[in-house]
């Protein structure tokens, strides 16, 4: 560890700080000088990547405020021209959100559907996954570890494999009414459980055993321990899973396509968006505004709760 520093840099360092002991200060100063030099190019590269990564979204944002004639037709041009001849409008947003504006892309109903789908699913998954995770972490029963690994492995079953039989099960066996939220709620909860249990288990199993033991000595039963101790202590993990689950369900298209029946009563905003962006037509200029309406909620969730989100990624990701 105590290899001798290169003589040239050591002398440079002593020259900068003549009063100090060279053997002590040479290394930190050298490090600072070196990182400054290398990081200048690295920072430039990083900024370029960040700009390239943001341009597409920014382009959508600008386009969504451009009048129809500038977006499609003979007088249209690229979105960056909006800054040269200043021309912005809120009409696109008014059109996609109000029934009066346009019957082909009225998003407000679908927006409400997305919210009505995502909130119950998130709650269902959080409660059920934390109950199961608690038992996997602190319950004692035969085959616990094998069963836990099996649950982990369930993550790989592609949704595509589950869809056809599940749809048959819902409509034929359970007789769930088509065009209600129930199918979507149940399906999303089923698909969210394996990863939810896995993420929460990592966290819950690290709660100090003495806390639980102390509560048990005081006469607390499993349900008291779970609601009064485990859940409050797991809030960071629960928050990150909630954000994850929210984003997945909000952004989902496949499950929605199969189980929603596609009506404005039930279908989420992604499905509507996929429909209107798939058909080229006279109302194409509304697509960017529609797309932005659909991504604004996840973006708000993401930027608002970013800290928990990243922590959640790490607790699940690195240990897995």
């Amino acid at each position: 560890m105590t290899a001798t520093p290169a003589p040239k840099e050591a002398s440079k360092a002593t020259r900068q700080r003549p009063g100090s002991d060279p053997t002590e200060d040479a290394q930190p100063i050298m490090r600072r000088v070196k990182t400054k030099l290398t990081s200048k190019w690295a920072t430039a590269a990083a900024i370029i990547i960040a700009v390239v990564w943001s341009v597409p979204t920014f382009g959508l944002f600008v386009t969504s405020f451009r009048p129809a004639a500038k977006q499609v037709g003979p007088r249209s041009n690229g979105w960056w021209n909006a800054f040269v001849d200043w021309d912005f409008t809120f009409k696109n947003y008014a059109d996609v959100l109000t029934p009066a504006g346009s019957q082909s892309a009225n998003l407000s109903q679908y927006f409400v559907n997305s919210i009505a789908i995502v909130i119950p699913v998130t709650i269902f998954v959080l409660v059920l996954a934390s109950m199961a995770a608690y038992v996997f972490a602190w319950g004692k029963f035969k085959g616990r570890d094998a069963l836990f690994i099996f649950v982990f492995a369930l993550q790989i079953i592609p949704l595509q494999m589950a869809l056809i039989p599940l749809l048959q099960f819902f409509t034929q066996t359970l007789q769930l009414p088509a065009g209600s939220y129930a199918q979507l709620w149940i399906a999303h909860t089923m698909f969210g459980l394996p990863l939810g249990i896995f993420l929460l288990h990592n966290f819950i199993s690290e709660i100090p055993g003495e806390v639980i033991e102390a509560a048990r000595v005081d006469g607390a039963g499993h349900s008291t321990i779970f609601w009064r101790i485990i859940l409050p202590l797991s809030v960071p993990a629960l928050a990150s899973l909630a954000i994850f689950q929210f984003l997945w369900v909000w952004n989902d298209l496949l499950v929605a396509l199969v189980f929603s029946g596609g009506t404005a009563d039930v279908a989420p905003i992604t499905q509507r968006l996929a429909e209107i962006s798939g058909t080229r037509g006279a109302r194409d200029y509304l697509n960017p505004a529609a797309a932005f309406v659909s991504i604004i909620v996840p973006l708000l969730v993401f930027f608002g709760l970013q800290r928990y989100f990243v922590r959640g990624l790490l607790s699940g990701g690195l240990k897995g």
């Binding site: 290899a3 490090r31 990081s39 590269a45 990083a46 900024i47 990547i49 597409p56 979204t57 382009g59 386009t63 249209s76 041009n77 690229g78 960056w80 109903q109 559907n113 059920l128 109950m131 199961a132 608690y134 038992v135 319950g139 690994i149 982990f152 492995a153 369930l154 993550q155 592609p158 595509q160 494999m161 056809i164 039989p165 599940l166 099960f169 939220y181 709620w185 399906a187 909860t189 089923m190 459980l193 394996p194 249990i197 039963g221 499993h222 349900s223 008291t224 609601w227 952004n251 298209l253 968006l273 996929a274 962006s277 797309a291 659909s294 969730v301 970013q306 990701g317 690195l318 240990k319």
Partner: protein
């Protein structure tokens, strides 16, 4: 706006039923006689999740595996669906595309994410720069599809281009290109969208891992005269190997199942289909559930080795504890 009230009511009812079920379970667990209390607890806490996973994942997976050996009217037809998959040119294209996706997306996302994580480590404005690259993670594949259509937009030659890339091609005197129509390279342009989404994920995980590499190790390498690249190759990369495996695994699984990007941008036309999209088309559009199931089974077999590997790592971890 009367529809909101009605929808809200459905949500409230669902939550009430759910609360009642959970409350009942808690009551049973608490009232159970002492001799069986632990067993009842395990059963009660585990049962709801276990039932849902059995009905939603295990049973359908078994059913689909069986369905893969039947024809459109539900009669057994042996391996016909698989023969179809490996002989029809369109189906072969689908398989080929999936392989290209699963090789390129994890590789590119991880390399970009790693490079970016190294570049911004301790840079000024690290958090803002991270957020910008991480942001696409929050955007749906459908939204991403629409965003990237604006980038790839094409108009005939001699007209002002509205797509960013064609604008630059124009400025450089090149002909505009129909990015999404021209096979086979259009698959690459779809892959770029997925890379755009996944790079942020790779970056966040790898950045945290890099910060976890002991400073003394890097310091020692530096003092031994290693340059930046050698430090990176011989100290940083071995130090974050675990995180690299996790990132590659997660992105590979996500890529194998990719569906929405293809669905929104080309609907699988122009030779861009992938297994997940073709499965949906066959099962729900073409009335060939057997073929769809066969494709799903192939998807499962492609993911299987990755998960077996990860499950083994997990088992080792649990044995240590």
């Amino acid at each position: 706006m009367e529809f909101i009230g009605e929808k809200l009511l459905q949500v409230v009812i669902a939550l009430a039923i759910f609360a009642a079920v959970i409350g009942l379970i808690m009551l049973l667990v608490d009232r159970a006689p002492k001799s069986v209390k632990d067993k009842v607890t395990v059963a009660g806490f585990l049962a709801p999740a276990a039932i849902l996973m059995l009905v939603g994942l295990v049973y359908p997976a078994i059913r689909t595996s069986m369905l893969a050996f039947t024809d459109a009217s539900g009669n057994g037809n042996g391996f016909d669906n698989f023969v179809w998959m490996f002989t029809q040119p369109e189906a072969l294209t689908t398989l080929r595309n999936t392989v290209i996706w699963t090789v390129l997306v994890p590789l590119l996302s991880t390399s970009f994410g790693l490079a970016y994580a190294v570049f911004i480590d301790k840079a000024r404005g690290e958090r803002v720069l991270k957020s910008l690259v991480f942001m696409p993670m929050a955007i749906s594949f459908v939204g991403a599809g629409i965003i990237w259509k604006l980038v790839y937009d094409y108009r005939g030659p001699n007209i002002e281009q509205t797509g960013v890339i064609n604008f630059f091609r124009d400025a450089l005197g090149m002909d505009p290109k129909q990015f999404l129509l021209d096979a086979p390279e259009n698959t690459i342009f779809l892959i770029i969208v997925m890379v755009w989404i996944q790079t942020g994920f790779a970056m966040v995980i790898l950045s945290a891992a890099i910060k976890g590499v002991p400073v003394e190790l890097i310091e020692a390498a530096r003092l031994d005269g290693a340059n930046a690249w050698q430090q990176f190759r011989n100290v940083t990369v071995p130090g974050i190997r675990g995180a690299l495996v996790v990132v590659l695994t997660t992105i590979t699984i996500a890529t194998l199942k990719v569906f929405d990007i293809v669905r929104t941008m080309t609907a699988g036309n122009y030779d861009t289909s992938v297994v997940a999209n073709e499965m949906y088309t066959q099962a729900f559009r073409a009335g060939e559930p057997g073929r769809g199931a066969a494709l799903a089974l192939i998807l499962f077999l492609m993911v299987l080795p990755i998960v077996v590997y990860n499950a083994r790592v997990l088992r080792k971890q649990r044995e240590i504890h």
